[in-house]
């Protein structure tokens, strides 16, 4: 038996997926162990090994691949428990990190809390040195000052050092020399320099990323090094990979050097799940929605490719590493509904979390939540909550909804619950529009993929709101992330600042820059254990119209020397991308290149999933019972059939309104929608022909 193992650490559960050659999937779950994530990891692989009747050593030894999605770096940043970090920078610019480019998220809030800089001012130290805008030395490096700073850092007990000087992306000689001195003076300290982490113009973003890298680096190093050693000691022979923010994998060694590239490892795995799903079903345009207890994440997959953004903010810190473009809002099953003192009904962003949780959990929660509304509307089954594992207090739920929402608004209980349902749907639809409409994609050309336990109750209504006519609820929705990880490639991002205009570009300089970057990229990739036949290089340019301040990243032809003719094609690609994003282009305006990006990809063979055969049962045989659901369309309750998902098989079709239930996921097929089961066991909901989607 040949197989691959993927383990993803989530907030509550640690998921393990084993894909056996031939495409059969096995999934396992254990509780996460936040204090040491490797404990949960070991628990879940032990469970998997037992399932296959093997001891751990045999199980690990037989794996072709072991992929791990970890939140160690993210949690370190979120909880402020990283290394005591020192920062060495160009003299005269000590406060770049704390200035944050004077950006303020909400100008109206005079008391807005902002994340404190990861390096306090006394550990941010300037050294005499300077390069100009072309990377030419203006002031030589004062090495004596670097040594003095190191002596102070030693006294302060600094365990990580970040180095970021002006224009180092053009000329890394000063930074490299500083690094050499630091390594000499402070042996054993974790060091990151900006021209390695992110050789890209814009010192605030570069510095912030380099500092985040140094800050989380030591913890991630300890975690990954120990884990890899332990797994190898316990029999793992093949490669051990970590999921990065860009949705690709990298070896533990690379992840340690580029610690900041793993900050979105967890959610990125979800997006890889969606890509896997796109490949499986052939649906190339997807909007992935993941609704949990407290948050709602959306990601857009266009033509089978996830959209990446070149930077973002994590826990209030700017990180300019390519990351999967995920939009998150505070809307989930635990989102609290409340009426402000002037009478407006709001849902979220406050959450009841899992404790005390929604009122109906009966753990002391008194604030009605989205889950409570779903229960009162009949969408959730009070007798089959978490497959019947959880007892629900419907009476208390009803009482609190009446007291907190319905009575003050002077409306019936159903109306109030339906109002909460409608408002949260609108918030989620607006989030889906941020990644689609606002980026120039028409949601009518996309199917919504509904993941997470509660999402499929809302999915049809969100689809109606954004104008999409298909919703897919994938099989194995609850281990979506771990599944996707196993099907991702090794992806290493490289960026180099390159300044040039079209027309006016020196092709020679440009091709030299590409060749240099590709050489480095390929070397790095081969170090990951990738064989040359599986290696490929993707090229991108960050470009804009001369005068603009925001770039658009466009792919350019690979594997060749760029010619004048290709430059013309690149310009056309840029104009088209600009038009899609911003509704216009101006082909007469010259273009400016800002960065060259080379992504080295080590392809991993994909699994061909086994298809299900049609069963003997008729669709009507899957009906468990009927139950009353409230629909705003009818303004009334309606008896609808409840189907057992386990009994639904390929080719089954049913009409909404209906409910499809399984242990964790409840699907509400709303009025005007039909559902069918596809050959992989996914539930596909489509708006009924003739029913208008408005």
């Amino acid at each position: 038996m040949r197989y691959r193992i993927g383990v993803d650490i989530g907030g509550t559960f640690t998921d393990c997926v084993v894909i056996v050659e031939g495409g059969v999937i096995h999934t396992f779950k254990e509780l996460s162990t936040p204090e040491d994530q490797s404990i949960g990891l070991y628990n879940v692989i032990a469970k998997a090994a037992a399932f296959f009747g093997q001891d751990l050593r045999t199980f690990l030894g037989g794996a072709d691949l072991f992929v791990h999605g970890t939140t160690v770096a993210t949690n370190t940043l979120l909880t402020g428990t990283g290394a005591k970090t020192g920062l060495i920078l160009t003299k005269g610019f000590r406060d770049t990190l704390e200035m944050r480019r004077a950006h303020k998220d909400n100008i109206w809030d005079l008391f807005l809390h902002i994340a404190q800089p990861l390096v306090p001012r006394y550990l941010r130290r300037g050294v005499a040195e300077r390069l100009d805008y072309l990377g030419r030395e203006v002031t030589p490096l004062n090495e004596g000052e670097v040594r003095e700073i190191c002596a102070d850092f030693r006294k302060e007990g600094v365990t990580a050092v970040a180095i970021c000087t002006l224009f180092s992306y053009l000329n890394d000689s000063h930074e490299k020399r500083i690094r050499a001195i630091v390594e000499e003076e402070l042996p054993g300290v974790f060091v990151s320099h900006s021209s390695e982490v992110l050789p890209q113009i814009r010192e605030y973003e570069r510095q912030s990323t380099t500092v985040a890298n140094a800050y989380v680096g030591p913890k991630l190093t300890v975690y990954l090094t120990n884990l890899e050693q332990k797994l190898k000691g316990d029999g793992l022979e093949k490669a051990f990979y970590v999921v990065a923010s860009n949705g690709g994998m990298m070896t533990a060694d690379t992840a340690i050097r580029h610690a900041s590239a793993t900050l979105l490892s967890g959610p990125a795995a979800g997006a890889t799940g969606a890509i896997f799903f796109a490949n499986m079903t052939g649906a190339r345009n997807l909007i992935l929605m993941d609704m949990g207890g407290t948050s709602f994440d959306v990601t857009l997959i266009n033509d089978g490719t996830v959209t990446l953004s070149t930077e973002g903010e994590i826990a209030g810190y700017r990180v300019a590493k390519p990351m999967i473009d995920i939009h998150t809002i505070g809307a989930g099953g635990g989102s609290v509904a409340w009426i402000d003192q002037w009478g407006m009904l709001n849902v979220g962003p406050e959450s009841a979390y899992s404790y005390p949780g929604p009122v109906c959990y009966d753990r002391g929660g008194v604030k009605p939540t989205v889950t409570d509304a779903n229960l009162l509307l009949g969408y959730l089954n009070k007798d089959f909550f978490l497959g019947g594992e959880m007892k629900i207090n419907e009476e208390k739920c009803r009482q609190m909804m009446e007291e907190k929402i319905a009575a003050p608004m002077n409306m019936g209980l159903e109306k109030a619950a339906a109002g909460i349902f409608q408002i949260v749907n609108q918030n989620m639809a607006d989030a889906a529009k941020v990644v689609s409409v606002q980026k120039g994609y028409d949601p009518r050309e996309f199917a919504l993929v509904s993941a997470g336990g509660a999402c499929s109750i809302h999915a049809c209504k969100i689809a109606e709101e954004v104008g999409s006519d298909t919703v897919i609820v994938p099989m194995a929705a609850s281990v979506f992330c771990a599944l996707g990880m196993l099907e991702s490639d090794i992806r290493l991002d490289n960026v180099r600042s390159f300044t040039g205009t079209i027309p006016g570009l020196s092709l020679e300089d440009f091709n030299t820059c590409i060749a240099d970057t590709e050489k480095t990229a390929m070397e790095e990739l081969l170090k990951e254990g990738v064989e040359t036949k599986d290696a490929l290089l993707e090229r991108y340019l960050d470009m804009r119209y001369v005068g603009q301040h925001h770039e658009v990243t466009v792919p350019i032809p690979g594997g060749c020397v760029i010619t004048e003719g290709q430059l013309e094609e690149i310009a056309q690609v840029f104009h088209a991308a600009h038009k899609r994003l911003y509704s216009y282009d101006t082909p007469a305006t010259p273009l400016e290149i800002v960065n060259l990006r080379v992504t080295a990809v080590g392809t991993v063979p994909k699994t061909d999933l086994s298809r299900q055969a049609a069963g003997d049962l008729k669709v009507g045989d899957a009906v468990k019972n009927t139950r009353k659901l409230y629909f705003e369309e009818y303004g009334d309750w309606k008896d609808v059939p409840v189907y057992d998902r386990a009994l639904l098989t390929v080719g089954h079709r049913l009409q909404g309104p209906a409910v499809i239930e399984e242990r964790i996921t409840t699907i509400v097929v709303h009025p005007k929608w039909d559902a069918r089961i596809d050959e992989f066991g996914n539930v596909v909901m489509e708006i009924r022909k003739g029913a208008t989607n408005e």
Partner: protein, 592 residues
Amino acid sequence: MSEKTTGAALEKRKAEFEGAKDPITFAVIYNRLLTINREMGITMINTSISPIFAEAHDFSCAVCDWDCRIVSQVDGVPSHTASAMESVKAIVKYFGDDIHPGDVFVLNDPYMGGTHLQDVTIMKPIFFGGRLQFIAINRAHHGDVGGMEPGSYCPKATELFHEGVRIPPLRIYSGDEPIMDVINMIRINTRMPEEIWVDMKAQVASCNVGEKRILEMMEKYGEEKTRETIEDIHLYAENRMRDEIGRLPDGVYHGHATLDGDGLVDEPLDIKVKITIQGRDALVDFEGTSPQCLGPSNSPLANTATCVYVAFLTTVTTPDIPHNEGVYRPIRITAPEGSVVNPSGNAPVAYCTLDTACAILEACWMALADILPGRVPAGWNRWNGPTVSGVDPRNENFYVMFGFNGFGGAGGAQSADGRPYIGDGIDLGGLIAPNIETNEVDYPHITEFNEFTEDSCGAGEYRGGNGARYRIKFYDGAETNLVMFGDGRVNPPYGLFGGLPGTCNMAYINEGLAGEELLPAKGAVTLTDGGTFTSYPSGGGGWGDPKKRPAEKVAMDVKNGYISRRAAQEIYGVALTEGFGVDAAATAKLRG
């Protein structure tokens, strides 16, 4: 007995509001409008070319209803709040029934609903069912609209005509097609005719997005329900503001702020404000304010009103209150005609959205401080940056660079130190500073430093944020034109409740070199051969007695270099040991 003390009137109004027929649709439409404003803003950021929009976000997007009332607004900077409403009124008054689908209007005249001439407001009427329902608005500060100096801040201007092109209510699109002859009339009056046109098109694109989304919304909810809900949204906001005002003790509260001067006449300008709280109403009166001035410090009434609203929105209410016409109803503003806060004739106004706006905001905050001590901050920095222009010796192109580096600090407030390096008060942190690297690539200079100035922050239990000293050196042989249009050279950000003021703004050319010169707060100077510009923007004022600041915090401030050892000892009464520890005995003695 006043209305509020009985509580009955309050209940009555609540009851009125809660009569809203469909609270769910109300919440849905309210949120949808904000989403629409945000989408309009994203379109603007991504398609405009001037750094002032793309980087500094000096624009705002709003939607007005059929009665010229702002329904919702999302601002880049606060100085646009509410004032666009006056522009819409001017359009409707002038064009009356001659407003059609596919029209786009423009206006910038300060005496016809604008603020200063750089703020160009684009408006697009939205029709549904054959009736004018809404107007999408985009107001944006353009880099140059003509006048005596590049950038249109003109220190020598004594008439509005000196400051650039005046645009009365004007139709620039008909049937969604631009009327180029009219548009070219505007463009030819500016130094950057290409840029202004591209950026105006970005404004129009932004309004088009607003129109499209509003129409989708009306399709869904229908005219009647939409209009009914809009009335509720106004009423909701009004009710919230009235409740907040109702909680304040009745009385008359005074505040004042002083501007250094208008840059032409060496005389300070006094802004005096009297805020009367009466039940659930506020009356704001500027009696006693200096007469209008010769130079460009005059603030047209719409701009003055905006500053008053900003003062209320930042302290009296919480940040999530809707910004619409309803919220402004309880606040009545009067100002003597011919004063610096309500000028008449053709007085120049370019500084009104910065210096004068800061001073009006400060005066109102001061008046409110006594009744809202926990909400009102100490004084913020006033503007200290120049506009720099010249010919770039690297490519012979003419350039204009705004001084968006070297920002000052915010004032401290109860429970929070002021933020360092955040910019002037009236912008409330809305302006974003460019990176040193992109700035040096874009403009011909090298930056020598941009970092916090020790002791620039006003001392207090909660101290002000530090300002940042900033120096740039121009290329040898280059000729550079610097226009200063700041203030606060002699009037520092105020301290509150025993807190001390921040430092004063300072700026020099060639500091420490031959030809060193202290620059005026307002004025123009030309450097003929390289040279340097250095600014020392003020830190924010302090809040509360510095001696009450915990000694450990003071010690950390010294270790971090925000304040000096001497300031710790003399102002905060904290003695430090050899290192950065607190000398408890000596401190107790100093603090008495």
